[in-house]
Protein backbone atom coordinates (compact mmCIF):
# COMPACT_ATOMS: atom_id res chain seq x y z
CA UNK A 1 0.00 0.00 0.00
CA UNK A 2 1.30 3.46 -0.86
CA UNK A 3 0.27 7.00 0.00
CA UNK A 4 0.05 10.44 -1.57
CA UNK A 5 2.86 11.25 -3.98
CA UNK A 6 3.94 14.81 -3.18
CA UNK A 7 7.10 14.72 -5.26
CA UNK A 8 5.79 16.99 -8.06
CA UNK A 9 4.19 19.57 -5.79
CA UNK A 10 5.76 23.04 -5.49
CA UNK A 11 5.36 24.71 -2.10
CA UNK A 12 5.99 28.26 -0.91
CA UNK A 13 6.68 28.66 2.83
CA UNK A 14 6.45 32.16 4.33
CA UNK A 15 7.49 32.62 7.95
CA UNK A 16 9.68 35.22 9.63
CA UNK A 17 11.25 32.54 11.82
CA UNK A 18 14.01 30.84 9.86
CA UNK A 19 13.87 27.97 12.31
CA UNK A 20 10.22 27.30 11.59
CA UNK A 21 10.84 27.70 7.84
CA UNK A 22 13.70 25.21 8.03
CA UNK A 23 11.64 22.75 10.01
CA UNK A 24 8.64 22.95 7.67
CA UNK A 25 10.93 22.58 4.65
CA UNK A 26 12.58 19.57 6.29
CA UNK A 27 9.21 17.99 7.04
CA UNK A 28 8.07 18.60 3.45
CA UNK A 29 11.26 17.08 2.07
CA UNK A 30 10.67 14.07 4.29
CA UNK A 31 7.20 13.72 2.73
CA UNK A 32 8.83 13.70 -0.70
CA UNK A 33 8.24 17.33 -1.76
CA UNK A 34 11.17 18.30 -3.96
CA UNK A 35 10.48 22.00 -4.57
CA UNK A 36 10.16 24.29 -1.55
CA UNK A 37 10.65 28.06 -1.81
CA UNK A 38 11.04 30.14 1.34
CA UNK A 39 10.30 33.78 2.16
CA UNK A 40 10.59 35.72 5.41
CA UNK A 41 7.83 38.29 4.95
CA UNK A 42 4.66 38.89 2.96
CA UNK A 43 6.24 41.14 0.32
CA UNK A 44 9.08 38.70 -0.45
CA UNK A 45 6.58 35.85 -0.43
CA UNK A 46 4.37 37.50 -3.06
CA UNK A 47 7.38 38.07 -5.31
CA UNK A 48 8.32 34.40 -4.89
CA UNK A 49 4.71 33.44 -5.52
CA UNK A 50 4.73 35.30 -8.83
CA UNK A 51 8.05 33.81 -9.88
CA UNK A 52 7.51 30.22 -8.78
CA UNK A 53 3.74 29.82 -9.18
CA UNK A 54 3.61 27.21 -6.40
CA UNK A 55 0.86 24.62 -6.03
CA UNK A 56 0.46 25.32 -2.31
CA UNK A 57 1.28 28.19 0.05
CA UNK A 58 2.01 27.78 3.74
CA UNK A 59 2.15 31.10 5.56
CA UNK A 60 2.64 32.39 9.05
CA UNK A 61 0.32 35.15 10.27
CA UNK A 62 2.63 37.38 12.29
CA UNK A 63 5.60 38.50 10.19
CA UNK A 64 6.33 42.05 11.43
CA UNK A 65 6.07 44.54 9.84
CA UNK A 66 3.94 42.54 7.41
CA UNK A 67 1.20 40.02 7.95
CA UNK A 68 0.28 36.70 6.43
CA UNK A 69 -3.18 38.16 5.90
CA UNK A 70 -1.65 40.76 3.56
CA UNK A 71 -0.15 37.92 1.55
CA UNK A 72 -3.43 36.02 1.42
CA UNK A 73 -5.30 39.14 0.30
CA UNK A 74 -2.72 39.82 -2.40
CA UNK A 75 -2.75 36.25 -3.68
CA UNK A 76 -6.54 36.17 -3.81
CA UNK A 77 -7.21 39.67 -5.16
CA UNK A 78 -4.18 41.25 -6.81
CA UNK A 79 -4.55 41.43 -10.61
CA UNK A 80 -0.91 40.33 -10.85
CA UNK A 81 -1.51 37.16 -8.87
CA UNK A 82 -0.69 34.19 -11.11
CA UNK A 83 -3.09 31.85 -9.31
CA UNK A 84 -5.78 33.36 -7.04
CA UNK A 85 -7.13 29.86 -6.40
CA UNK A 86 -3.97 28.41 -4.86
CA UNK A 87 -4.59 26.49 -1.62
CA UNK A 88 -3.28 28.43 1.37
CA UNK A 89 -2.52 26.95 4.78
CA UNK A 90 -2.25 29.51 7.58
CA UNK A 91 0.34 28.12 10.01
CA UNK A 92 0.17 30.21 13.17
CA UNK A 93 0.20 30.37 16.92
CA UNK A 94 -2.90 32.58 16.79
CA UNK A 95 -5.69 30.19 17.65
CA UNK A 96 -8.36 32.47 19.06
CA UNK A 97 -11.70 31.95 17.34
CA UNK A 98 -11.99 35.54 16.13
CA UNK A 99 -8.59 35.25 14.47
CA UNK A 100 -9.50 31.95 12.83
CA UNK A 101 -12.62 33.63 11.44
CA UNK A 102 -10.58 36.61 10.27
CA UNK A 103 -8.17 34.31 8.42
CA UNK A 104 -11.02 32.38 6.87
CA UNK A 105 -12.73 35.60 5.79
CA UNK A 106 -9.52 36.75 4.11
CA UNK A 107 -9.52 33.64 1.94
CA UNK A 108 -7.33 31.15 3.79
CA UNK A 109 -8.07 27.56 2.78
CA UNK A 110 -7.30 25.98 6.13
CA UNK A 111 -5.68 26.66 9.44
CA UNK A 112 -2.84 24.76 11.12
CA UNK A 113 -2.05 25.75 14.68
CA UNK A 114 1.48 25.92 15.99
CA UNK A 115 3.04 23.97 17.56
CA UNK A 116 3.24 22.02 14.33
CA UNK A 117 4.18 18.36 14.09
CA UNK A 118 5.13 16.24 11.12
CA UNK A 119 1.88 14.31 11.52
CA UNK A 120 -0.34 17.40 11.69
CA UNK A 121 1.33 18.94 8.64
CA UNK A 122 1.04 15.70 6.65
CA UNK A 123 -2.64 15.46 7.52
CA UNK A 124 -3.26 19.04 6.36
CA UNK A 125 -1.48 18.44 3.07
CA UNK A 126 -3.67 15.41 2.38
CA UNK A 127 -6.76 17.42 3.31
CA UNK A 128 -5.76 20.11 0.83
CA UNK A 129 -5.39 17.54 -1.94
CA UNK A 130 -8.85 16.21 -1.11
CA UNK A 131 -10.41 19.66 -0.75
CA UNK A 132 -12.66 20.10 -3.79
CA UNK A 133 -14.50 23.21 -2.63
CA UNK A 134 -15.45 25.75 -5.22
CA UNK A 135 -14.38 29.37 -4.82
CA UNK A 136 -16.88 32.05 -4.02
CA UNK A 137 -17.03 35.77 -4.70
CA UNK A 138 -19.54 37.45 -2.44
CA UNK A 139 -19.31 41.07 -1.35
CA UNK A 140 -15.67 41.71 -0.54
CA UNK A 141 -14.85 38.06 -0.03
CA UNK A 142 -13.08 35.89 -2.53
CA UNK A 143 -11.84 32.48 -1.44
CA UNK A 144 -12.77 28.86 -0.89
CA UNK A 145 -16.41 28.32 -0.03
CA UNK A 146 -16.59 28.95 3.71
CA UNK A 147 -19.44 26.53 4.17
CA UNK A 148 -18.39 22.94 4.70
CA UNK A 149 -19.85 20.77 1.97
CA UNK A 150 -21.99 18.42 4.05
CA UNK A 151 -23.33 21.05 6.42
CA UNK A 152 -24.30 23.39 3.60
CA UNK A 153 -26.03 20.63 1.71
CA UNK A 154 -28.11 19.85 4.78
CA UNK A 155 -28.91 23.47 5.56
CA UNK A 156 -32.23 24.75 4.25
CA UNK A 157 -32.88 27.67 6.61
CA UNK A 158 -34.13 31.10 5.58
CA UNK A 159 -30.61 32.58 5.65
CA UNK A 160 -29.17 30.04 3.29
CA UNK A 161 -27.00 31.95 0.87
CA UNK A 162 -28.32 32.40 -2.64
CA UNK A 163 -25.97 30.86 -5.18
Amino acid sequence: MTGYDFSHMKVLVADDSRHIRSLVKTFLSGFGVESVTQADDAAAAFVAFQEEDPDLVITDWNMPPTSGLDLVDQIRNDPDSPNPYVPIIMLTGFTELYRVRMARDTGVSTFLAKPVSAASLYKRLCAMVDDKRAFVRVGRFFGPDRRMAKRSADFAGPERRRA
Binding site: T2, G3, D5, F6, M9, P87, P115, S117, A118, F142
Partner: protein
Amino acid sequence: MADKTGKDGQNRPLRNSADKSGDDSAAPAKARTMHPPRHLSDRVPKSGGPTPESAILAALNSAEELIEGYQGWAVDDLEDLWRAFQDAADKKAGPADIRQMFDIAHEIRGQGGTFGFPLITAISDSLCKYLDQRKEMAARAGEVVRVHILAMKAVFRQELKGDQGALGRELPKLLAHLRDRADMGGG
Protein backbone atom coordinates in the same frame (compact mmCIF):
# COMPACT_ATOMS: atom_id res chain seq x y z
CA MET B 1 -19.86 41.44 -11.74
CA ALA B 2 -18.17 39.50 -14.45
CA ASP B 3 -15.19 37.25 -14.59
CA LYS B 4 -12.47 38.06 -17.00
CA THR B 5 -10.21 35.57 -18.64
CA GLY B 6 -6.65 36.60 -17.84
CA LYS B 7 -3.74 36.55 -20.22
CA ASP B 8 -2.79 33.13 -18.89
CA GLY B 9 -6.23 31.82 -19.82
CA GLN B 10 -7.48 31.42 -16.27
CA ASN B 11 -10.98 32.41 -15.29
CA ARG B 12 -9.70 35.26 -13.18
CA PRO B 13 -12.06 36.57 -10.52
CA LEU B 14 -12.11 40.35 -10.31
CA ARG B 15 -13.59 42.45 -7.55
CA ASN B 16 -16.84 44.06 -8.54
CA SER B 17 -17.53 47.80 -8.44
CA ALA B 18 -19.11 47.57 -4.99
CA ASP B 19 -15.89 46.02 -3.70
CA LYS B 20 -13.80 48.88 -5.02
CA SER B 21 -16.02 51.53 -3.51
CA GLY B 22 -16.25 49.64 -0.25
CA ASP B 23 -20.03 49.91 -0.45
CA ASP B 24 -21.42 46.61 0.67
CA SER B 25 -24.20 48.02 2.78
CA ALA B 26 -26.98 47.11 0.36
CA ALA B 27 -29.04 43.94 0.34
CA PRO B 28 -27.22 40.63 0.89
CA ALA B 29 -24.76 40.13 -1.93
CA LYS B 30 -25.38 37.38 -4.38
CA ALA B 31 -22.66 34.78 -4.36
CA ARG B 32 -20.84 33.86 -7.51
CA THR B 33 -19.25 30.44 -7.57
CA MET B 34 -16.10 29.68 -9.53
CA HIS B 35 -14.14 26.52 -10.03
CA PRO B 36 -10.34 26.57 -9.91
CA PRO B 37 -8.84 25.96 -13.36
CA ARG B 38 -6.33 23.60 -11.81
CA HIS B 39 -6.41 21.58 -8.65
CA LEU B 40 -3.78 20.34 -6.25
CA SER B 41 -4.91 16.78 -6.89
CA ASP B 42 -3.69 17.21 -10.48
CA ARG B 43 -0.16 17.42 -9.07
CA VAL B 44 -0.49 14.96 -6.21
CA PRO B 45 -1.60 11.42 -7.06
CA LYS B 46 -3.18 9.63 -4.12
CA SER B 47 -0.89 6.66 -4.61
CA GLY B 48 2.70 6.09 -5.61
CA GLY B 49 4.24 7.90 -2.64
CA PRO B 50 5.41 6.53 0.70
CA THR B 51 2.83 5.34 3.21
CA PRO B 52 1.75 8.03 5.70
CA GLU B 53 3.67 6.29 8.47
CA SER B 54 6.92 6.13 6.53
CA ALA B 55 6.52 9.70 5.21
CA ILE B 56 6.06 11.04 8.74
CA LEU B 57 8.93 8.93 10.05
CA ALA B 58 11.20 10.18 7.26
CA ALA B 59 10.22 13.76 8.10
CA LEU B 60 10.95 13.26 11.79
CA ASN B 61 14.30 11.63 11.07
CA SER B 62 15.26 14.48 8.75
CA ALA B 63 14.29 17.05 11.36
CA GLU B 64 16.06 15.39 14.27
CA GLU B 65 19.12 17.63 14.11
CA LEU B 66 17.03 20.81 13.86
CA ILE B 67 14.90 19.79 16.81
CA GLU B 68 17.96 18.91 18.89
CA GLY B 69 19.42 22.35 18.19
CA TYR B 70 16.32 24.23 19.34
CA GLN B 71 17.36 24.89 22.90
CA GLY B 72 20.55 26.60 21.79
CA TRP B 73 18.92 29.35 19.75
CA ALA B 74 15.69 29.54 21.75
CA VAL B 75 17.69 30.85 24.69
CA ASP B 76 18.65 33.80 22.47
CA ASP B 77 14.96 34.53 21.84
CA LEU B 78 14.35 34.40 25.55
CA GLU B 79 17.20 36.86 26.13
CA ASP B 80 15.58 39.20 23.54
CA LEU B 81 12.35 38.96 25.50
CA TRP B 82 14.16 39.65 28.77
CA ARG B 83 15.86 42.73 27.28
CA ALA B 84 12.57 44.02 25.89
CA PHE B 85 11.02 43.49 29.32
CA GLN B 86 13.82 45.35 31.08
CA ASP B 87 13.61 48.23 28.61
CA ALA B 88 9.88 48.41 29.21
CA ALA B 89 10.30 48.20 32.98
CA ASP B 90 12.79 51.08 32.98
CA LYS B 91 10.26 53.50 31.57
CA LYS B 92 6.54 54.01 31.32
CA ALA B 93 5.95 51.23 28.80
CA GLY B 94 3.43 51.99 26.09
CA PRO B 95 1.60 49.90 23.53
CA ALA B 96 4.64 49.67 21.20
CA ASP B 97 6.84 48.24 23.99
CA ILE B 98 4.15 45.78 24.96
CA ARG B 99 3.63 44.84 21.33
CA GLN B 100 7.34 44.10 20.99
CA MET B 101 7.21 41.75 23.96
CA PHE B 102 4.06 40.16 22.57
CA ASP B 103 5.69 39.53 19.18
CA ILE B 104 8.69 37.78 20.76
CA ALA B 105 6.49 35.76 23.12
CA HIS B 106 4.27 34.82 20.19
CA GLU B 107 7.26 33.48 18.25
CA ILE B 108 8.40 31.49 21.27
CA ARG B 109 4.86 30.15 21.65
CA GLY B 110 4.87 28.74 18.14
CA GLN B 111 8.32 27.23 18.43
CA GLY B 112 8.33 25.64 21.89
CA GLY B 113 5.99 22.74 21.32
CA THR B 114 7.08 22.39 17.70
CA PHE B 115 10.61 21.65 18.88
CA GLY B 116 9.68 19.40 21.79
CA PHE B 117 9.13 21.87 24.64
CA PRO B 118 5.35 22.15 25.14
CA LEU B 119 5.86 23.77 28.56
CA ILE B 120 7.53 26.68 26.79
CA THR B 121 4.47 26.98 24.57
CA ALA B 122 2.16 26.82 27.61
CA ILE B 123 4.04 29.58 29.44
CA SER B 124 4.46 31.85 26.40
CA ASP B 125 0.81 31.29 25.50
CA SER B 126 -0.14 32.54 28.95
CA LEU B 127 2.16 35.54 28.50
CA CYS B 128 0.63 36.31 25.08
CA LYS B 129 -2.85 36.20 26.61
CA TYR B 130 -1.71 38.65 29.25
CA LEU B 131 -0.03 41.06 26.86
CA ASP B 132 -2.54 40.91 23.99
CA GLN B 133 -4.45 44.19 23.69
CA ARG B 134 -2.74 45.57 26.84
CA LYS B 135 -2.11 49.29 26.59
CA GLU B 136 0.22 49.89 29.54
CA MET B 137 2.31 47.97 32.02
CA ALA B 138 2.09 48.91 35.69
CA ALA B 139 4.38 47.39 38.34
CA ARG B 140 2.09 44.46 39.02
CA ALA B 141 1.85 43.64 35.33
CA GLY B 142 5.64 43.81 35.09
CA GLU B 143 5.84 41.20 37.82
CA VAL B 144 3.55 38.90 35.84
CA VAL B 145 5.80 39.24 32.78
CA ARG B 146 8.91 38.65 34.87
CA VAL B 147 7.50 35.45 36.41
CA HIS B 148 6.66 34.10 32.95
CA ILE B 149 10.15 34.75 31.61
CA LEU B 150 11.81 33.23 34.66
CA ALA B 151 9.56 30.18 34.34
CA MET B 152 10.70 29.70 30.74
CA LYS B 153 14.32 30.06 31.77
CA ALA B 154 13.77 27.37 34.41
CA VAL B 155 12.25 25.02 31.81
CA PHE B 156 15.33 25.36 29.64
CA ARG B 157 17.75 25.17 32.55
CA GLN B 158 16.19 21.90 33.70
CA GLU B 159 15.64 20.69 30.12
CA LEU B 160 11.98 19.91 30.76
CA LYS B 161 11.10 18.38 27.42
CA GLY B 162 7.70 16.85 26.69
CA ASP B 163 4.47 17.63 28.49
CA GLN B 164 5.83 16.73 31.97
CA GLY B 165 2.59 15.07 33.10
CA ALA B 166 0.95 16.76 36.08
CA LEU B 167 3.16 19.83 35.79
CA GLY B 168 2.05 20.33 32.20
CA ARG B 169 -1.58 19.98 33.22
CA GLU B 170 -1.39 22.30 36.23
CA LEU B 171 0.86 25.01 34.83
CA PRO B 172 -1.73 26.72 32.59
CA LYS B 173 -4.16 26.89 35.53
CA LEU B 174 -1.52 28.37 37.83
CA LEU B 175 -0.55 30.96 35.25
CA ALA B 176 -4.18 31.86 34.57
CA HIS B 177 -4.61 32.36 38.32
CA LEU B 178 -1.54 34.61 38.38
CA ARG B 179 -2.89 36.72 35.51
CA ASP B 180 -6.32 37.01 37.06
CA ARG B 181 -4.93 38.06 40.45
CA ALA B 182 -2.72 40.69 38.88
CA ASP B 183 -5.62 42.15 36.94
CA MET B 184 -7.87 42.14 39.99
CA GLY B 185 -5.15 44.08 41.77
CA GLY B 186 -5.18 46.77 39.11
CA GLY B 187 -1.97 45.67 37.34
